[in-house]
Homo-oligomer: 495 residues x 2
């Protein structure tokens, strides 16, 4: 066995351990009853420790060194695989175990404190944890930065979004920060006179599930490889080759919510499903990071399925199922539901224009917290000031303000950007795809996703991690990532 093959075997085991963890996560969230949570938590912790043990196996260092000599004999996928292994090994070994343990302990305490603080709208009780967490993340990022030769924030982002750097984020976010608030005001003016008819009420889970499964079938979803379950927080399984299962959530009085959550997760699931099977479980065979993953859910949900074209297919289907005579299911009314913009204080409920503003604010805050220019104690004041500036309203309490997200209490810094980077990528890819093949939009208007996936599968999904994040976007769209396509898309749709 060559050294490269030795590494492939080791990382194959790691990939299978990750797949097992992914399935156990599914079990905890979809199958498990709450009474057995304690034992499942212990199993998850033991599995995470085993994964860490294998990921930091001291033999890897030697293998990686020796594999250099074999490089001339590797093909491009194997070479990319080797590079990914190095990156993963550097991340896995960058931070001393003692600090990882401290982080795990503080995360557990801080997220409990956060839950109480959010429920009581009491930032003060969370502030000490936030201060400690910022200190700890700074230390953590320092180790990662040193090991990876990156700036601290970039080292944090690189963990889940390989190759994404703050320079790139700054460019994209800078333009959005400048133009979106203006667009927001224009659109709100334009929509001021809209009179939306509600899309029914009291829709049963069963009727909504039938609708969702119908639409999933239209997208080409493989029900012999997946299923639709219900959870509080919808998600898609990842890391289990060929398993396309997803979850969604239904609200009886909001048909739109469950359908769009389903389509969003369906988008994620296709990325996973179309990854090349010959590299299953290998680093090079994995999806290329959180931003690109989010682009595949948003491209399907936002770009494709909120388009006027798709609503031409969807609206009559809603009418047929929920009320043929109800004018609420007319194309124009359904489309308005999908295009309605609001000054939403809550990120996860926000629309295509307000959502990026939320993310940009969090990015700004994370940088300021980590470089010390924003003391943790001043977070609520700063939050409220900036949210007023960019969205135009002030949160009535901390729960609807700076305490709304769980991320910081878990020490997750550097993750927020990927949501809006994903939106920018989605717009750029969708613009290219629809220009390259007019059959895509024509297909959407009759519920045919064939042309859509015929473009996105070879151009994005099948690349897996064989190329860098930037190379995938450039090869697919002919240009480096920029905010312009997203701004064009939003202006065209809403302006």
């Amino acid at each position: 066995m060559s050294i490269y093959q030795q590494l492939e075997q080791h990382y194959g085991t790691l990939g299978k351990l990750s797949a097992a963890n992914s399935l156990l996560f599914w079990d905890r969230n979809v199958v498990m009853k709450p009474g057995s949570a304690a034992a499942h938590g212990e199993v998850a912790a033991a599995m995470a420790a085993l994964h860490a043990e294998k990921a930091t196996d001291p033999r890897i260092e030697g293998w990686l060194g020796e594999a250099e000599a074999e490089k001339p004999g590797l093909d491009t996928w194997q070479a990319a695989n080797l590079a990914e292994m190095k990156r993963l090994y550097r991340h896995a070994t960058a931070v001393p175990t003692e600090l990882k343990v401290r982080r795990a302990r503080l995360s557990a305490e801080a997220s409990q404190a956060w839950q109480k603080a959010r429920a009581g709208n009491d930032f003060g009780s969370f502030a000490p944890y936030m201060r400690q967490m910022v200190e700890l993340v700074r230390e953590f990022a320092g180790h990662k930065a040193a090991a990876l030769g990156l700036k601290p924030y970039d080292a944090l982002m690189d963990e889940h979004d390989p190759g994404v750097r703050s320079e790139l984020v700054d460019g994209v976010f800078g333009l959005l920060a400048q133009r979106l608030p203006v667009l927001l005001e224009q659109v709100l003016d334009k929509q001021a006179g809209w009179n939306l008819l509600p899309l029914g009420a009291g829709h049963s889970d069963e009727a909504q599930r039938e609708l969702c499964e119908f639409i999933m079938r239209k997208t080409g979803y493989h029900f012999d490889h997946g299923r639709l379950d219900q959870t509080l927080h919808p998600f898609a399984l990842g890391g289990v080759p060929g398993d396309q299962r997803i979850t969604t959530r239904f609200k009886a009085d909001d048909l739109r919510f469950g359908l769009m959550a389903t389509i969003h997760e369906t988008g994620h699931s296709f990325y996973e499903f179309n990854l090349p099977r010959q590299y299953s479980f290998q680093p090079v065979g994995a999806a290329r990071g959180a931003g690109l993953h989010e682009s595949q859910s948003l491209m399907l949900e936002m770009c494709a399925c909120r388009s006027a074209e798709f609503v031409r297919f969807l609206a009559p289907e809603l009418a047929r199922r929920f009320g043929a005579a109800d004018p609420a299911y007319a194309h124009d009314n359904v489309l308005k539901h999908y295009h309605k913009i609001r000054r939403n204080l809550i990120r996860i409920e926000a629309d295509q224009i307000v959502y990026p503003l939320h993310v940009i604010l969090r990015y700004e805050i994370e940088l300021a917290l980590l470089d010390g220019s924003l003391p943790a104690d001043e977070l609520p004041e700063f939050w409220n000031m900036r949210i007023k500036q960019v969205i135009g309203v002030t949160p009535p309490d901390a729960g609807q303000g700076c305490l709304q997200d769980v991320h910081w209490s878990l020490g997750m810094f550097g993750y927020f950007p990927s949501y809006t980077m994903g939106a920018a990528i989605a717009a750029q890819l969708f613009e290219t795809a629809t220009a390259a093949d007019p059959a895509i939009l024509a297909g959407l208007s009759v519920g045919d996703f064939g042309p859509y996936y015929a473009w996105v599968k070879p151009n994005v999904h099948e690349k897996a991690s064989s190329l860098t994040f930037q190379a995938i976007i450039e090869q697919a769209s002919g240009a480096p990532l920029s905010a312009e396509p997203l701004l064009r898309h939003l202006t065209q749709r809403y302006g």
Copy 2:
């Protein structure tokens, strides 16, 4: 950390790995769609290899040796835990890896060949695999015997049924083999004139599920810790402390089948649920082997829930749900359905009298195959001759004869006895329990399982593996295991 604590930590990790494997097994059988089977199979194989790696960790040998010096300071549960660790380590290291690999490969090939052979009723095509498997199992058993200081067949049984030896099995099975065929003929004569009214037909899964969940609630099943799903082969989750989930199978025209499968698995699940939580994931905290496990399903299903007392509660409930005016749901007719004896050629469909005869035949055949007195080629002739002698009918083909079970194709020798050992244990424990507390039978007649579990929980479940198999039975029933209680039970119920 003491050496004992070091061992506890290591075996705790192993226990959690086993729990993860158990949950992944659940996923494959309950959740997964068939299209993703290949990836799940690879994950399972990697997890099994990881478990084997940890179970044969060379440090264990040294720890076990050094722990001897700490023995005086251990309490009885800790001492029993240490003894179990030794047993597990001996089993894990007894067989050379090369032979394990050969066994895995042959099992995969042979079980495929078996599937084809069974479908085509063609023993000839399976015979070469059977010959190889017998050779391989003999070699395998030889290694286990040497490592454990046991007879080869005992070494095989000890893997899943610690402490069960062929001497004990011979005693129990010998008496059953002598008396059951006689009883069978008597009972068939007695039942010859029975005229059973069918228990309805076309029962929906939903109606059957409601009935099953109603009965499960009556047993005290913890729905906040478990759930009832549907699979082709019903089973209960094991090894995940506090998680009581089970599966069942419904047949539209056989109400009895789904209900009894559900009760059977509920019995298994209570054993798991009542294991002492302070020893979760430790060897001493596990159920005490396959035979005792089966006793807990059979005691609930056969002894308790096929009793005239329980049917007094069940029959009116069936009538209320499925046809109040239908005389089929009268107590006497329902009871006869549960007590009907048939010359059943298929083990898994057989009743309380014929099932043990099936198991005893397989035990006899396994011993003869392994000591070479029965050549694999002669299996069909031998099978047909003996089944005619003990059950009184001849299989029309090999699929309903010696090819009916998957076990041998997988190399599972030494497992069959536990089914009937379980039946003997169940009868002995139920006889003791009902004699000790008349409230048990009285409770069953009104659907109250409180007294039943008040006896079985401390006397069996909470002992976990702190005592030997024999000690649990003797302490609970005041006598060593024998076939007499089962024969009394069968004679009283059917004779």
